[in-house]
Subunit: 325 residues, 2 copies
Amino acid sequence: MAAATACATGTAFAQKRTDEPVQTIPAIRNLDPAMVELGKKLFFDPRLSKSGFISCNSCHNLSMGGSDNLKTSIGHNWQQGPINSPTVLNSSLNLAQFWDGRAADLKAQAGGPIANPGEMAFTHELAIDTLKSIPGYVNEFKQVFKHDKLSIDEVTTAIAAFEETLVTPNSRFDRWLDGDNKALSKDELAGYTLFKESGCVACHNGPNLGGNSFQKMGLVQPYKTASTAQGRVEVTGKDADRLNFKVPTLRNVELTYPYFHDGEAPTLTMAVDLMGRLQLGREFTQDENAKIVAFLKTLTGQQPQIGMPILPPSTDKTPKPRPFD
Amino acid sequence: MAAATACATGTAFAQKRTDEPVQTIPAIRNLDPAMVELGKKLFFDPRLSKSGFISCNSCHNLSMGGSDNLKTSIGHNWQQGPINSPTVLNSSLNLAQFWDGRAADLKAQAGGPIANPGEMAFTHELAIDTLKSIPGYVNEFKQVFKHDKLSIDEVTTAIAAFEETLVTPNSRFDRWLDGDNKALSKDELAGYTLFKESGCVACHNGPNLGGNSFQKMGLVQPYKTASTAQGRVEVTGKDADRLNFKVPTLRNVELTYPYFHDGEAPTLTMAVDLMGRLQLGREFTQDENAKIVAFLKTLTGQQPQIGMPILPPSTDKTPKPRPFD
């Protein structure tokens, strides 16, 4: 049967396309399944927040492309966040984490929101006190880490391991890269050609179509926004890095609206139009825009299949959530 | 192998216990799997709220016993809810929904929070406009309901169907009811005997150990609380129904802390102690209390295994969430 199938569809397949500026997602490294499972629990556990209401998944919702689909996120006490929540999907492929790259990797990132007063508004100490009061967690940490220490280091290691599994392979575009000529329509392919020839690919390249450099928002034309986010300068202190942001991935971009660091572009059409003007000094025609958008929608990959974790219950000793203090 | 196993553990099994005031969970009725799947998507979809941030699962979290483990829930704009979020688990077994029973069934309940200004703060009209703008939903509703109408009626029908599947069979106590003598320890069994003989079972009986009657909170001693919830009187208008609340289920009670309609009892120990005093005029000794708590912890059943749904993306026409308006 396999041979017959290969034969019947044989003409649709060319060789793998290895000379493109975009590549398929590399295989994830070997991870301890028990650590991944622990990380998943922590990712979904709102007890890592002061309120007991906000978890990692609140703003990086795995039902919604690993984002919250809001302009800027909602934090503790309904505070309006300063920036658009980037997707957690394929985030292990990024050169650094956060829009300004202030965290070197997923592990360094994971502790940030827990202790950010505008996000989960907790402290690492209280988060650890909480976890240590829950025998289900204490036992699981011990089994996974083979030692008795339970600190923010173990917590962020486990969350990062879970996040590493959140890749989305096998998009239609990946199938085309793998040699399936029928995976893309004529318009989608024309969109990809435009994407390359007009210069989008200069920043959105590699396996994550972005995530591998910092670039100035408003390279050709200045970007007008009410957002006060200054980007990379806040990390490096160099004025040349003002409004430099990590180039976002375009994988699953159909799911991760609205767009830009301030979330001010509600649709792909608007995002493509603005990117053309601001970064390339180019005005895409409606037809060109539509073709690029059609291409972008081929980047939606297989979403991770996540079984909701059952969280170990708190005990009489667990610190109480304080949503309204 | 099966026969050998049955033989080896044969002595542990008695006949099913059919004369107890508590019964195992009845099998759920035949439900259309496609409708259940659609209902699951809606249950997890924060686009049914004004903010785009709050879903059914926010306060009935299936990772946490179908509750939010908060005294009272957090609603739109971080409003403090008036009452403790009851678990959605096994809720189809209840005689009515909400603490005051104002909804006759799950379908009638499901529309409430969407339009409640203190909860999801949306309107049914806007929720339907949102769903109608999303082709993924439009197609799925059409396939499930075999007609083109997409109204709050279809939405709540699907959510209720999903919620009907959220039962938790096979707790250790159920295994004991089914004849497994080794399923409970001596102390747990002593706790169950106390639970029956002291009168707890007068209200907490049936397959859901509650959920089948309204009872006055503070029957023997008045209950002192800052909560303004008045209970059943707000539905019937009868003064005799003041502070009458639906008796909560005790299934999975280990997971659904804190307790009572106002969430003022943080631990099972305190809940048992207060119930004894307020409802039975009885002061349980520490040992009695511990045994009843041990019994209550045997009521944790198999939690539903939920695969996170992948929600169909919004389109350019979808109304934008308005978290900060």
